[in-house]
């Protein structure tokens, strides 16, 4: 099949806006009379609020209102309603919003916020998931049993810190252990950390005199925000309008609804005037939700030939002080627990656990990056125990069509893609054959590590999207969708799909970058690397709808039957003689005969899509269909370790994944490389650091470290393209996948280079030094 747009490196539609500073993000847009809200956040990780002294602040110039937890009755949450927008009675994490000052200017709000004094009575803290499940642990939520479930598939355990648990029971685990000739077990820990979107969270709300609520926000989920605001403020859904311009990075962190509640509360408190709340970077790190923590134990059993026969997985997922999407991510980790390997006997217990840390929300990989670290480190340990090449072990166990997932979905090439093809490609790409550990002399060791991954959507079973195609009187087309442009060039990719289907030049397709819930087609969320698939399908349907109308009207114009016609380059023409044609521009708003009679009507293509055949996971066995297809892949990292001081350089990082069909190679490669970069950050430096009292110590970008230019390795990306028959032009989701296995590959390489088992991240030079010293002491 010859493509016109698909497969091309089309320049992003928002490119020139973005390189000229003209691109507008939410906080760039000012409105007359805008008031400013500034949060006062908790300096205590777990404590009763004894008093809040507001008098000094109330007296300050420009202050319009000050809100505290008493100002609003509801608890909020997208899975379990456990979180007050402002702390009520007690605080559960350092950085939790306690008060909100609304003032005429940002300066006056900041000045007043600095005057508010809050006294706490400290309570014992819950410091880690493992501690949290001990029977003597303090409770983060003593009213857990009374919280309202928003979705049925969340299973909190009353009088514990467990807000959700899920099981996978597949095959016969005891049979598996009996068959196993080699058994290995390991424990792993990954800290919580932050998304660090460059645009901090911010939201603005205004309540019009007729009760309409207008929310302007930097969000990945405008339609979810609208629904929640409507519910919690008891306003008809149609009266809530949520608008989202370009978003300065999300990575999952802007998928949950947080500041939007506060902005609406704030506007309510000042008679509906518009109020903008912007997080400072410190608040964005400490207060806004971050990435989950994980403590995992994995036990694998294999035959001597390396074939896996049993896998047992325990995931203690630290969701911090509130559930948010933690339970969903816990289920997602369980459903993918084996990694992309053929395993008939699977036993997994996954728990989502409260601690007194910043609460977690979705983060690139939706739990998979943490889970995959444990699984892929374990695969390397198994390879060592079997004296097998780590790549070979993965190759012989790679899951293939006909096999089943842990949730017992039978796989086809379309659903699964082809992992062995990915492994074969990466082997060459990273030059695996030269050896995975080479002593270079001069205290330098070069080593390579590898890790496989897979991921599906883990979406609600009714995830949906829609698209509208309209035309301009010059024949060009407009595409409207509800997916947010958070960075991945989604809207350009969708325009390519539309251009391809309409057989038009991509430059003749116009895409609006902003979302407005009142005019943009209803959309689930811009998450899970699903927009190209989900919205793309809706775009195709809308295009087909438009084409049908174009052909029918073309038939009237050309006085023939629709079957005689075809279309291309903004023309509907006679198949037998393309010289007889009518141009789109002459039919898109109806066709006018020479005598003035006009037929037809404006052509508007409508399309929508709902994910079919998805089912929720069974509580006892995990059985269910959690997504429409999988994206599998493999990653590798090459490092050079200095054995004199344990500093290391990451030389190369590679990903090969089954993309189904790559729609925009340069964009796709950029997404995967960027995600790899973030994953290497998680592997090497990113982590929340807590004091003994569980106060977050690294709340600025001076102390919370991310990779900077010059520290990046050479990135290598390649694709396998096994068509996903349901995907637009065969494509699978891809974006976050670059992050999933990369820190596992990094740490596999570092463990091999250093000759010591590194079972946690981030791996700093000091950690390697410490682990080697511990190993030396043990051997003495």
């Amino acid at each position: 099949m010859e493509f016109q747009s698909i497969g091309n490196d089309v320049i992003r539609k928002d490119a020139w806006e973005k390189v000229t500073g003209r691109a507008l993000y939410n906080a760039d847009i000012s409105s007359p009379g805008l008031l400013h809200g500034v949060l006062v956040t908790s300096t205590c990780a777990h404590g009763n609020i004894k008093s809040i002294h507001l008098q000094g602040a109330r007296m300050m110039a420009g202050v319009k209102a000050i809100l505290t937890g008493d100002s609003y009755p509801d608890l909020t949450g997208s899975v379990l309603e456990d979180r007050p927008p402002l702390a009520k009675g007690k605080v559960r994490y350092y950085g939790e919003p306690v008060a909100l000052v609304i003032a005429r200017s940002e300066f006056e709000a900041c000045a007043a916020a600095a005057r508010i004094k809050i006294e706490y009575e400290k309570l014992p803290t819950v410091n880690s998931p493992r501690e949290a499940i001990k029977s003597e642990s303090p409770l983060v939520h003593d009213q857990l049993g009374s919280y309202k479930k928003v979705i049925p598939e969340v299973y909190p355990v009353q009088n514990t810190n467990i807000c959700h648990q899920i099981k996978i029971r597949k095959g016969d685990i005891n049979k598996g252990w009996n068959e196993a000739e080699v058994i290995v077990e390991g424990s792993f820990s990954l800290p919580s950390s932050d998304h660090i979107a460059m645009e901090p969270h911010n939201a603005k709300a205004e309540i019009l005199p007729d009760g309409q609520i207008i929310v302007d926000t930097s969000s990945q989920s405008p339609f979810a925000v609208r629904k929640l605001i409507s519910q919690h403020f008891k306003v008809d859904l149609g009266k809530v309008v949520v608008r989202v311009p370009l978003v300065g990075g999300g990575y999952g962190g802007k998928a949950s609804t947080n500041l939007e509640y506060l902005a609406v509360m704030a506007s309510k408190a000042v008679g509906g005037q518009p109020v903008l709340i912007k997080n400072s970077r410190e608040q964005d790190i400490a207060s806004a939700p971050g990435k989950l923590a994980l403590e995992a134990t994995v036990k694998l059993g294999a035959r001597k030939d390396g074939k896996l026969v049993a896998g047992e997985y325990t995931f203690l997922v630290g969701t911090g002080a509130y559930a948010d999407t933690g339970p969903r991510m816990t289920s997602a980790m369980a459903m993918s627990c084996t990694g992309p390997y053929r395993l008939e006997n699977v036993w997994c217990d996954a728990y989502c656990i409260y601690t007194n840390h910043t609460f977690a929300t979705s983060f690139r990989g939706f739990g998979h990056s943490s889970m995959t670290f444990a699984v892929e480190r374990m695969m390397d340990k198994l390879a060592a125990a079997l004296h097998m090449n780590p790549l070979e072990l993965r190759r012989i166990n790679a899951i293939q069509s006909g096999d089943t997932t842990p949730t017992q979905v039978r796989l086809t090439p379309s659903i699964l893609g082809y992992l062995p093809g990915c492994i074969e490609k990466i082997q060459k790409l990273i030059n695996w054959e030269e050896g995975n550990r080479i002593d270079m002399g001069n205290n330098r060791i070069k080593a390579k590590g590898i890790a496989c991954f897979w991921k599906t959507s883990s979406s609600p079973t009714d995830a949906f999207a829609a698209a509208i195609v309209s035309f301009n009187s010059d024949g060009s087309a407009n595409l409207q969708v509800g997916a947010v442009e958070i960075g991945p060039s989604t809207r350009t990719t969708l325009a390519q799909i539309l251009a391809e289907r309409l057989r038009m030049d991509i430059d003749r397709i116009y895409v609006q970058m902003e979302v407005d819930t009142r005019t943009s087609p209803h959309d689930w969320k811009t998450v899970a690397s699903m927009s190209t698939f989900l919205v793309g399908r809706a775009v195709l349907t809308a295009a087909n709808d438009a084409i049908g109308q174009l052909i029918n009207l073309g038939a009237m114009a050309l006085k023939c039957s629709p079957e005689d016609l075809d279309f291309q380059h903004e023309r509907v023409y006679l198949k037998e003689n393309p010289e007889f044609y009518v141009e789109y521009k002459d039919i898109v708003h109806g066709f006018k005969y020479p005598n003035g009679n006009t037929v037809g009507r404006q052509i508007i293509g409508r399309g929508s899509y709902i994910m079919p055949h998805l089912t929720a996971m069974d509580q006892e066995t995990g059985k269910g269909q959690p997504g429409p297809f999988l994206t599998p892949g493999v990653q590798a990292v090459e490092v050079e370790l200095n054995t004199a001081d344990y500093t290391y350089r990451i030389i190369k990082a590679a990903t090969v994944l089954d993309a189904g069909k790559v729609i925009n190679p340069k964009s796709a490669k950029g997404l995967v490389m960027g995600a790899m970069g973030m994953g290497l950050g998680l592997g090497s430096r990113e982590a929340f650091l807590w004091s003994a009292d569980q106060e977050l110590q690294n709340t600025s970008l001076r102390t919370y470290k991310v990779i900077r230019i010059g520290e990046q390795p050479e990135y290598l990306v390649d694709w396998v393209e096994t068509p996903n028959v349901n995907g637009p032009y065969g494509s699978r989701g891809l974006a976050e996948h670059g992050i999933i296995g990369i820190h596992a590959a990094l740490v596999n390489a570092l463990s091999l280079a250093a000759g010591v088992e590194l079972d946690q991240v981030p791996v700093t030079p000091e950690l390697i030094w410490k682990k080697l010293r511990e190993a030396q002491n043990d051997s003495l």
Binding site: E106, F107, C110, A111, A113, A114, E282, A644, D645, S684, R685, L689, Q697, N698, R702, T703, K705, I707, R708, G710, E711, T764, P765, E766, W769, K770
Partner: protein, 282 residues
């Protein structure tokens, strides 16, 4: 956003600056001298400092000087770290300046600001300690030229209203063989786990440290140990480690144990490099 108001003054002369400081001090404004201002702005935003007036001194001619004058290299306190790095009149100082914060901030941070700041590292002081530099300090009463050791002990010990005007570095040191090494927890742009500046003069190694303990320092006792030719290099380093002026801290940058491990490793290679003349400078 800085959550309080202050007044802004930009005097054109030292006298002008000293006078306005005194006037503002007397009127209870709690003024601060302001040069690059990077630390003042970031601390004021967090309300870690408050002031009623900032006196921006960086455009006073004496504070902008950078030239050889007689036996000294004269560098004004208002010269930015980038200007020092780009001019490269004293390579060791140039290198130390090029590793403070990041390059863009180096365009703003001044030498005086780095020396007088509250952040504990003050890495630009290390080359000055090694070269017995002099500081020119002005106040409403007088101007004085004093050896750095008399004013810098853990931090600058200036009286209220005193303004650091210039640094005078004896010219004979600027071309000594030297080593500058900055080690961080991991990232290049980070506070030091350990920064070492060392130079060789009269066949003696001098070394100064930042990040090792909670203040930057040069230790004559450590240098004596390092220069004790009766001992092996390993013994000299061990001896030097026994003479640290304070306990090595555990902090976010690293544990005391790891810092000491790195220190030992670095000292060994630095002394070896300087003594063999095989300087690599990482």
């Amino acid at each position: 956003m800085i959550p309080f108001d202050f007044e802004y003054y930009r005097p054109q002369s030292i006298t002008n600056a000293a006078d306005i400081f005194q006037t503002l001090e007397e009127s209870g404004k709690n003024p601060v001298f302001y040069a690059g201002g990077t630390e003042i702005i970031s601390m004021a935003r967090m309300s870690s400092i408050t002031t009623g007036a900032v006196i921006d001194v960086k455009e006073i001619p004496e504070l902008k000087a950078m030239e050889f004058n007689g036996d000294d290299l004269v560098i004004g306190a208002g010269v930015t770290l980038t200007q020092i790095h780009e001019a490269n009149l004293f390579p060791l100082l140039a290198q130390a300046c090029a590793r403070v914060a990041d390059h863009t901030i180096q365009n703003k941070i001044t030498l005086g600001g780095n020396l007088c700041g509250t952040i504990i590292y003050r890495e630009a002081v290390l080359p000055l300690l090694l070269t017995n530099a002099y500081l020119v300090i002005a106040s409403v009463k007088n101007a004085r030229r004093v050896p750095i050791n008399e004013v810098f002990s853990k931090r600058m010990q200036l009286n209220r209203g005193e303004l650091l005007v210039q640094v005078h570095i004896p010219r004979n040191y600027v071309s000594c063989p030297y080593v500058h090494v900055k080690r961080t927890k991991e990232d290049k742009i980070h506070y030091p786990l350990l920064t070492v500046c060392a130079l060789l003069t009269d066949n003696q190694v001098r070394a100064a440290f930042s990040g090792l303990v909670n203040f930057p320092f040069r230790s004559v006792e450590m240098e004596e140990a390092l220069n004790d030719i009766n001992l092996t290099l390993e013994q000299r380093v061990e001896q030097a480690l026994n003479k640290l002026p304070a306990a090595v801290p555990d902090n976010l940058e690293g544990s005391a144990g790891y810092r000491t491990f790195i220190l030992k490793h670095l000292l060994t290679s630095i002394v070896n490099e300087l003594e063999t003349g095989n300087v690599t400078n990482s």
